[in-house]
């Protein structure tokens, strides 16, 4: 490596690190600037707290049966009421928080790990991109829940891993699409041209110049993936084909509660409220992130 090239790169690299530094510096500003964002961040912190410590502070065990206390409306002992087995709704809802967030993280990570490399390569190599995007379009012709249902049927038994795979495979193509279009734009930018003129290899351009500039769109898309995936997991559980019914989950609780909905609406009311709050918070944070990190992205995701 010649001397002057290292100098050039150090300037260039400082440039590339800027988005990260800017994002880090702006995080606090970001969280506090808008009232809605601040509220959403607070809700997310509460959910995280419940996910981490819920089982320790819950008044009952999530699967504790008290048949004599079945279908009670909210009262002093059971703050949010009980279901048809006499299980405490508050405790079950709290316990569902952990599983929901874990699944959301796993699915988003899966979509990211599959979608990012494929999207980058598709954006960078025209021929490959043409084929990949055709396939992505075709996969996206299957409505999300129908594809997830079919994948659950193919993968076999209900289970955590299968849910992650089924929903992850539904959202990965959407990630590919976002990364693809961002890479297409970045590929034409001046700094990529400069790097190429300096003799940088394709791998280096992809990893050091393009990947780092994909951080903003990818973060934004991941937030939305998270929101949609926890909604979809809840839908799968509600339909009885997600995780096994003995694990307390918001969707599963609503599935069991739907038979009693007219007599005991609180069984479905609270898990749904938690789900809606979680999705709303992630959507709000996603919207705010998009406005903050990359205004050009509006309408893409």
């Amino acid at each position: 490596m010649s001397r002057h090239r290292r100098d050039d790169l150090s300037i260039e690299e400082r440039d590339h690190l800027q988005p990260i530094r800017r994002a880090a510096r702006g995080l606090w500003q970001f969280a506090t600037r808008r009232r809605t964002t601040a509220a959403a961040m607070c809700l997310l912190v509460c959910l995280l707290f419940l996910a981490a410590f819920g089982p320790y502070i819950a008044p009952f065990a999530a699967d504790e049966l008290r048949v004599t206390e079945r279908l009670q409306s909210p009262n002093r002992t059971h703050l949010l009421g009980t279901d048809h087995f006499g299980r405490d709704i508050l405790s079950r809802t709290m316990s569902g928080t952990r599983i929901t967030l874990l699944l959301g993280v796993a699915i988003s990570a899966f979509a990211l790990c599959v979608g990012l490399p494929i999207g980058m390569l598709a954006g960078f190599f025209d021929r490959f991109g043409l084929v990949v995007m055709r396939v992505v379009d075709a996969i996206m012709a299957f409505p999300a829940i129908i594809l997830a249902l079919a994948l659950m049927a193919i993968l076999g038994k209900p289970g955590l891993l299968n849910v992650v795979l089924a929903v992850g495979l539904v959202w990965a193509p959407r990630m590919v699409r976002v990364v693809y279009s961002a890479t297409l734009a970045l590929r034409e930018s001046v700094f990529v041209e400069a790097a190429r003129a300096l003799g940088a290899s394709t791998a280096r351009i992809l990893l050091r110049h393009i990947a780092i500039n994909l951080i903003s769109p990818v973060i934004v898309q991941t937030t939305f993936t998270f929101a949609f995936s926890i909604m979809e997991v809840a839908a799968l559980n509600f339909l009885g084909v997600g995780i096994p019914p003995y694990v307390a989950s918001w969707g599963g609780m609503m599935n069991e509660g739907k038979t009693y909905v007219i007599r005991a609406p609180w069984i479905i009311l609270f898990p749904g409220l938690f789900l809606a709050t979680a999705v709303l918070s992630f959507n709000l944070v996603g919207d705010a992130l998009r406005d903050r990190l990359d205004p050009k992205l509006r309408g893409v995701t």
Binding site: V135, A138, P143, I146, A235, L239, G240, I262, A276
Partner: protein
């Protein structure tokens, strides 16, 4: 225009072929042998072998694929493992409910979403605008099945105004009053998507309302309402049309869950039952029908762009 249509039509064919390929590949991933699944655990190995022969499962995979392709293009999706009847017939039987539901939901999406968005854009940051944005935000985050259950508790349970579940065929009974059972499902399905349409309609109207020709129209002394409807709305309609076509896919998805909430005998509840029973031919048939429907709707959306905006034809 003709070349435009022809190009899109080729795309339509390619997408359909890809959709068939994907369903084929997915079905290849099913664990176990379809013949032994079909015959159950009591079958002898000769019976299984014979069935594998009739189904062509002993042929090389590309021969199987061609056979599969030919069958699909002829509308032969095989036989349900559970009902022992042709898949297409079963789907057709369930289609009526889903079509009524989809139509009713679409009416709610368009009838609620577009006026809400247009009204909100007339006075940005006004009371209507803020209320609409709040509702749209809620709509985008509320799970449709939860909304459905809540509506059911209120309108079917407490107030007893509307039926809580079920649906009887209108084509068979000729009784239009049956549509009453679809009001709650259509609303819970449509509301979420109406929110999306309203948001798009608002932002696209706001974009257009800043254009010079709007200022000109106002300067000419046109009434505000004429300016908004004739000059702004028409030009704002392309993004709105796009989002409505997206809505179509999400209505298809949402219908699966909504039909389940309200126990409607549609295609959506059929696929859930088939997944629970591992009735693969039915699952594959529904996937195919729905995806092709989606591809066809996209085709017509593209054509409608070309009609709404002549510039698109030359791209």
């Amino acid at each position: 225009m003709l070349t435009f249509v022809a190009r899109r039509a080729v795309g339509l064919v390619v997408s359909t072929l890809l959709v068939i390929t994907i369903t084929f590949l997915l079905m290849q991933m099913i664990p176990g042998d379809p013949a032994s699944v079909m015959l159950g655990s009591n079958a002898t190995s000769e019976q299984i072998e014979r069935l594998r022969d009739t189904w062509g499962l002993n042929e090389p995979i590309y021969v199987q694929f061609v056979q599969y392709l030919v069958n699909f293009l002829q509308g032969n999706f095989g036989e349900s493992l559970f009902h022992r009847r042709p898949v297409l017939g079963i789907i057709g039987q369930r289609a009526e409910t889903s079509l009524w539901l989809g139509l009713a939901a679409l009416i709610i999406v368009v009838g609620l979403g577009i006026p809400a968005g247009v009204l909100a854009s007339v006075r940005p940051n006004g009371f209507l605008d803020n209320t609409m944005l709040l509702l749209a935000l809620a709509g985008a985050s509320i799970p449709s099945f939860w909304l459905g259950l809540l509506l059911m508790t209120l309108f079917a349970g407490r107030l007893g105004w509307l039926p809580s579940s079920g649906f009887t065929s209108i084509l068979e009974t000729g009784n239009l009053a049956n549509l009453k059972s679809l009001i709650l499902p259509a609303f819970s399905l449509g509301f979420v998507n109406a929110a999306l349409v309203a948001r798009t309609a608002r932002s696209s109207m706001l974009d257009v309302l800043q254009a010079d020709y709007i200022t000109t129209a106002r300067a000419k002394g046109l009434r505000e309402w004429t300016t908004i409807m004739k000059h702004a709305f028409r030009n704002a309609s392309i993004p709105i049309a796009t989002v409505i076509s997206f809505t179509f896919a999400s209505l298809l998805s949402g219908a699966v869950v909504t039909e389940n909430v309200f126990a409607l005998p549609g295609v959506g509840s059929l696929i859930v039952q088939s997944v629970l029973k591992r009735d693969y031919p039915v699952i594959q048939g529904i996937m195919f029908v729905v995806a092709v429907l989606y591809v066809v709707v996209n085709f017509f959306t593209d054509l409608s762009y070309a009609m709404l905006d002549p510039r698109i034809r030359y791209r």
